[in-house]
Symmetry: C3
Subunit: 336 residues, 3 copies
Amino acid sequence: MFLKNCWYIAAQADEVGRALLHRRIVGEPVVMYRTEAGMPVAFLDRCAHRSLPLSKGTLIGDTVQCGYHGMTYGADGRCVAAPGYETPPDHVRVRAFPLVEKWTYLWIWMGDPALADEDALPDFHWPARDGWTPCPGYLRIGAHYQLLLDNLLDLSHETYVHGATIGNEAVAEALPETFEKDGQVVVSRFMPSVPAPPMHVKVRGFTGAIDRHQHVFFIPPSFIDIDSRFYVAGTEDEDTGIVWRVLNGLTPETETSTHYFWNLPRGFSPGDPEMTALLHQQVTKTFEEDRGVLEAQQQMLTEDPGFEHANIPADAGPILARRLVARLLEAEAAVG
Amino acid sequence: MFLKNCWYIAAQADEVGRALLHRRIVGEPVVMYRTEAGMPVAFLDRCAHRSLPLSKGTLIGDTVQCGYHGMTYGADGRCVAAPGYETPPDHVRVRAFPLVEKWTYLWIWMGDPALADEDALPDFHWPARDGWTPCPGYLRIGAHYQLLLDNLLDLSHETYVHGATIGNEAVAEALPETFEKDGQVVVSRFMPSVPAPPMHVKVRGFTGAIDRHQHVFFIPPSFIDIDSRFYVAGTEDEDTGIVWRVLNGLTPETETSTHYFWNLPRGFSPGDPEMTALLHQQVTKTFEEDRGVLEAQQQMLTEDPGFEHANIPADAGPILARRLVARLLEAEAAVG
Amino acid sequence: MFLKNCWYIAAQADEVGRALLHRRIVGEPVVMYRTEAGMPVAFLDRCAHRSLPLSKGTLIGDTVQCGYHGMTYGADGRCVAAPGYETPPDHVRVRAFPLVEKWTYLWIWMGDPALADEDALPDFHWPARDGWTPCPGYLRIGAHYQLLLDNLLDLSHETYVHGATIGNEAVAEALPETFEKDGQVVVSRFMPSVPAPPMHVKVRGFTGAIDRHQHVFFIPPSFIDIDSRFYVAGTEDEDTGIVWRVLNGLTPETETSTHYFWNLPRGFSPGDPEMTALLHQQVTKTFEEDRGVLEAQQQMLTEDPGFEHANIPADAGPILARRLVARLLEAEAAVG
């Protein structure tokens, strides 16, 4: 069960163009394309007539023609041509989803279109921020999106899973502060004068201790924004330190899989392609380690969903987030 | 749910000989072979004793010996030898299915053997007709057999799916006449003076317009016979035209798969192996295009079986056929 | 449904050492290892905190550290370290299974640990018997363990399945004596002056007729001990004959798969590696033939579990054994 009346990242903006792109979102098949004028469009990927996926059809101008009997739909989802009709049958429609382009992403609204509201977008402006340089990536993870939320809201796992890149003893040792604020869950850690993890040494050449700040924001239903800073100990100097965001858009694909759109926009080395490539390689390595853990965990949960877990203090963030999502699901069920 | 008290094509006659052939039909495992005298035999492919498929056993004379404990069955399905018995235990039988050989096919009756009646065979004599030349083929399609019926009863899809072989604009534009007659559904199209499709140009060298006749007969539960004619426009001349039947035997394998036995017996170029090879290649290409559509459609229906489809005029044939099958299923359920 | 309050073979003793070994037993994931002192340990292979399999973690001294958040468990399953705790949380435990080492095997108790009793081990001392030489092997078979019991309790199948190694006409022809005794089912055959099967000719060079004794003991829930003797006809001479046990430990993996631990300890040619290699090769060949039958049979039963089988006299052993297991399951359900 997923929240529907909310925005999810459907694609990176540059993935969608003049070809039909299929992607499953919250369990539903979706097809996306752009009109000749560049407007992004999203439909249920299923012809209203006989269920062939429209992504197996043809994009003709601004319309999609089904590959079975030629049913043709305009960008609003209405049938504009059908065999045997001089006047197209306007009772026939394919379901269209609100789709907006912002901050290098396409955002989709899978619930009631009347409720779609751009003001409800999470603040993911960082990849498009002046003077900053984005570093986007994508992985498909075979696990429920809330397992990814749990993972990102309890970063103590960096010590055990990511010792080769972003983790070391310091993270597990520093107990975070956890609280709910303005409809978000916040998990904050400050690690003064600790060794720099391997990836950060590579990226910034730290030779001594650093002050590490880690502020994790959970924005419901499926976004994590990490404000992450690394300074030469005692300096707070951005010129020698690292200031970046780790943005995570966790779009449910099915009950056991997730589209993981990540981005690491940074405020230093602007536009440097070698730095971008290094970061992409390091983050991919890190998140592939997570994949191994998350997919094994999902298999265990699928097998025995009722297993009762023990909690530890580091679970405060994940637990708050799960409660928040549960409240939102209840509220949506009450309305719908 | 499938009709049982009716004939299905079990195999091409030359597929079954002195080896044990396994094939699943209407969900049931079947094993077939011929006796030394050449009589075709079909059993449930499951030993009555401990369920090993008999097709994993040995054909000895006219009998089948199970490969586990040596239970041996005669051509009528009765046990003729078993370990520990001097007199074979005649309470032990494997279920035998009526199987008749006719018109180059083996026809099986999966329901009550007492009701099996050769007079109920559909008229598929064309491959064995004097002066005609058959062109048989087989495909396994991952879709319910009724999706194949829908496909063949609404040939407007030829325009969109089969533009490279048998389709062009003319087919979708010509509205067919559809009616029920003598327990069959008929869909007839006449397309006077239209361009010839690519395959027919290859086969017969048409240079100008043709008159195209297309009479589709649905013979319940799972047969489509298409009387298909192509004449040089205005001539009705069989010597320069094409007269053939497109025979389709759609034997359910499971709820989501079908054995597709097709045949294209023709009245011209009798016995010409190059013509037969060309037709086989063109039809296979065409039906492989259908496979792509049908299997994608089946996946969507499996995922959301309750999806409500919109109908268009071209659906008249498929809808009549589905109603006919539903009535027959009700009648069979009332009896059984 | 499997009996839980009983011993199963979990592994050959030499399979488990200073690495984490995963194995599923009666449907449950299990991880095994040895402490630095060599004591074998078995846990549920699932971290109590967030369900990651512990076999994906790290063995550190006598403890296992989970690969996700570093939860660490001692050899008794108690948590000895967890992030955020100075004093480890002793309410957190992973389920530990009694595991004992005996007669070259590790034996596991999947039920109530309070009931675990070494005196309840089946007598499988033969591989460790003075002057005898073991010949152990392992196969994973895709079939319920009771299908393997059926197989071993009705050896008439040797004639039809194993003609190349251990079977010939003599086995199917000799009706066995079958009875229950001391909580075991016994199936005994004596075949005086019969031809030797191919494997035994290879192993012992028999040139003429032999006297063959076959005493099969079913020890609930999942053990078969075959006392198997082959003498030059009329001699009972162990020096020219074969005396060995065929031991079968059939540990349920899932409802449709079994860990098959077999052993062929012998009283002749002690310690001869070439003889051991020959036996291993012959038995593996034989049991691979069984695998083909058993897995095909399992598929049929999965597809139609309610199929009513016909019984023959040779089924007396399997039927008695199934009744015995059913009584034990009822008794365990009544207690548990």
